[in-house]
Amino acid sequence: MTRHPWLRHRTRRLAPLALALATTLPAQAGVLAITNAKLHTVGGGTLDKATLLIRNDLIEAVGVGIAPPEGAKIVDVGGAAVTPGLFDAYTHLGLEEISGVDETRDDRGSNPRYSAALDVVDGLNPRSVLIPVQRIEGITQAMSAPSTGEGGPLLAGRGAVINLGQLSPEFFVARARAAQFLPLGEAAMGTVQGGRPTLLLALREAFEEARNGAPASVQRPALLGALDAAALRPVLNGEQPLVVDVHRAADIRALLKLAEDYGIKLVIHGGAEAHLLARELAERQVPVILDPTYNLPAHFEALAARSDSASLLYRAGVTLAFSAAGDQGGHNSRNIRQLAGNAVAHGLPWDAALAAITLNPAKIYGLDSTLGTLEAGKQASFVIWDGDDPLELGSYPRQVYAAGVAVPMTSRQTLLRDRYIKR
């Protein structure tokens, strides 16, 4: 395993200077050239024997035949694959430590109906043991979302994109309040008495009130608190995406109508039957966050689930991101590569699968100007793999970089391993 102690050492020495220059940027200095790499740029194709040039925390240049400047630290990776850091589009990382230990759960809201103002940043824990476990396997960003359903609020609150590199408290939160979250369908049945029409009505009532203000009448008290109403305004302005847990095609159709009526920027999460509306979703530019291995009629709202849904959605032109349905806590965000590989096995082009765990989540949360590809000007968060194909199960990160810094390739799990393994 290649490690770069020199980089960490230099970073430490130069940190005060870097901090003085830019207090909100991670401390970092120097020029790093990753040479002889197979660069999966995402969007710009795959470049063989190419160079990735990093200055401080940013990518400065990407290409073949780039001469590293004088004094650059050169890391010849011997033809290894390099990708952007991976991005899990839906987790509770930093909010949930041990699913079965209530004391470690900060992902769940308590308001029975509306909790739109909830901001996960108030509960995010950068020292979560889960974070290094994902980070050393190439996950550099994740959406940390409030839980939806399970008897929680209908409007669940606002999630944040986190940087798993967590080089500083400022760097840890990549984008606060990046999206509002909402369950619809079976998961929401426990949050509002009644069926789907009741849920939709409850949403319309909330949206009307947020848009028009609460009625000044003692006979009809306000539904929303002032903060909840304020929190919904960016959603109704189409600035902040609304991520909806929804599977059934009919529910997605109802949501498209709701989104149209209120000018909402909609994102589908779950989407077991989204492929049945692939064209409409493509036309309306509604992205889908899905688990491509979710192929069983496990719920009555997912009866048409199938293994090739990612491929069907892609062929219709839908923007896709992948996240594991059975692991919302993010304990195994590291396995999104496997999800991507399985989507490829069922017909999705390889490049599209890589984009679904890099660029597309960044797009969904409005961070694609700084994340998601290997391009000049973007944050230097990337992974050097030990194999040719990062979507293969035998491949593993040789080294992960977060904003130009080589992260320590250890986690509590590697420490446990080293304590017990007898080689």
């Binding site: 230990v101 960016p234 302005n237 493509a282 069983l296 009629p297 496990a298 009866l303």
Partner: protein
């Protein structure tokens, strides 16, 4: 019409006295298997990369099937007359995969109250219940697992009880009743559970014993004390007062029913090994066992298997210490007599069971990175021969050796890949899944749920990327604070 009590008792005592493993009388006992292997044509698979499950990897090799059994495996297999020859150049052939821990049929799709039949949570000790009486053969998960190469599986009761009941081994066949799926001659298993689940279900939620881990152990001991008394009284089929639960526990004491023990923590596994010593029975396998790597040497010494996930962890405290190398470390342990550890990749999950091969691939990769020497031909045993041994069917299936059942998976390439797909799955030499031929689902429940295939296939090729969306939609009006709020 119910059979007379006498008839049931007589056939049960026959089963017990012959031993459940007696293959000459596979259809004795109540609720007996009605499976009869269909007549299968002879088949010669040629030019395949073969992982035998018995430690060998053969390149450009052949395998001959006759009468549902494997007849020959090797580089030089002469074709008999009138044999179908399947050229498998570029493809890999493995034994049918075996899941030692499934709840298909007892926790089927759809996952609703009406179908949740896996945990008899009315008492912490229910050795009287049999999982097979809950198995719904229409669970669409069975055929999804078949497409993933699963040919046999042990369906267990859940882990809410200290002693959860009997588990049954099935062949993964389409069926209208479970008896036609029952694996002839396979022994029953007993599900036991350590740790958090029983103490949560009863102590926390039910306000009764067990409420603690010491309560758990007291519960097992009380049950086995009773079972010892029962077994002594009912020796040789005698004694009065039949007790279903005690029959099962007496079967464990006689070594006829295999103990499958859900147990996560190393210390609790050691306690369970002591329990087994106290009552003189054997634990076949610890299931889930995320801390098995901490006691891998003892497990190898005791000849106890570990049925494990490749990487699940952290969903409760007793799963907090899971590591990727768990399976590889259990596999690498060696007993004083030189026996290798018995590592198994299990699923416990209707999605995981569809790709046990991939889970094995991850576990193998983790072990190799940690410096352990693991060959493909070793790792395949984690999902074939080792689970076959753990659930008592190792003499019939789990490896590609002459005389074994022709349970086979032909893969599109190496099975240790995220791109691996089973092209063909054979059970007893009969083709039961063929990726090349689309057909209606086997499950009645799944029938007619998906739209016509043509509607989906008629979708257009991907259009050129849409023009970039306008940078911002409507400018915020009154919401200046909110707009500021959306920035990092």
């Amino acid at each position: 019409m119910r059979p007379s009590l006498f008839a049931v008792a007589a056939s049960l005592s026959l089963l017990l006295s012959l031993g459940a493993c007696d293959k000459s009388e596979p259809k004795t006992g109540p609720y007996a298997s009605t499976y009869a292997a269909p007549v299968a044509p002879a088949l010669l698979i040629t030019h395949a990369t073969i992982l035998t499950g018995a430690g060998r990897k053969l390149e450009d090799a052949s395998l001959l099937v006759q009468d549902g059994k494997i007849v020959a495996v090797g580089n030089e297999v002469a074709p008999p007359p009138q044999v179908e020859i399947l050229d498998a150049k570029g493809r890999w052939l493995t034994p049918g995969l075996i899941d030692a821990h499934s709840h298909l049929g007892v926790y089927p799709s759809p996952e609703i109250w009406a179908t949740a039949d896996g945990n008899e949570l009315t008492d912490p000790v229910t050795p009287n219940v049999w999982s097979e009486h809950s198995v719904w053969p229409q669970d669409p998960g069975f055929e999804a697992a078949r497409a993933g190469g699963i040919t046999s599986l042990l369906i267990l009761p859940g882990s809410g009880n200290l002693i959860g009941g009997r588990g049954t081994v099935f062949k993964n066949l389409p069926a209208t009743s479970y008896q036609t799926m029952k694996f002839p001659g396979a022994p029953y298993s007993l599900k036991m559970a350590c740790g958090e689940n029983p103490k949560r279900v009863y102590g926390k939620e039910g306000k009764k014993a067990p409420a603690t881990r010491m309560g758990n152990v007291a519960g097992y001991r009380a049950a086995f004390i009773k079972a010892q008394e029962y077994a002594a009284k009912h020796k040789d089929g005698g004694g009065e007062g039949r007790d279903l639960g005690m029959e099962t526990l007496a079967g464990v004491l006689k070594g006829e029913i295999l103990v499958q023990n859900h147990c996560y923590r190393a210390d609790e596994m050691e306690t369970m090994l002591d329990l087994a010593k106290e009552f003189e029975f054997k634990i076949s396998t610890f299931h889930h066992a995320v801390e098995a790597y901490k006691i891998a040497g003892r497990l190898a010494e005791e000849g106890v298997c570990g049925a494990l996930w490749a990487d699940w962890w952290g969903f409760k405290l007793e799963a907090w210490d899971g590591i990727r190398e768990n399976i590889a470390i259990v596999d690498a342990a060696v007993s004083k007599s030189g026996a290798r550890g018995c590592a198994i990749v299990h699923s416990d999950d209707p999605y995981g069971i569809q790709r046990l091969n991939q889970e094995a691939a991850k576990a193998m990769a983790a072990g190799r990175r940690a410096g352990l020497v693991i060959r493909d031909e070793d790792a395949i045993a984690w999902i074939t021969a080792n689970p076959a041994r753990a659930i008592g069917i190792g003499d019939q299936t789990g490896s590609l050796e002459p005389g074994k059942n022709a349970d086979l998976v032909l893969w599109n390439g190496t099975p240790f890949s995220s791109y691996a797909l089973a092209d063909r799955v054979y059970i007893d030499g009969t083709l039961r899944y063929d990726r090349a031929s689309r057909k209606a689902p086997d499950s009645d429940f799944a029938l007619g749920l998906a739209p016509p295939e043509e509607a989906l296939q008629a979708m257009p090729p991907p259009p050129p990327p849409p023009p970039a969306a306008p940078d911002s939609a409507a400018a915020p009006t009154e919401a200046a604070p909110a707009a500021a709020e959306t920035q990092p």
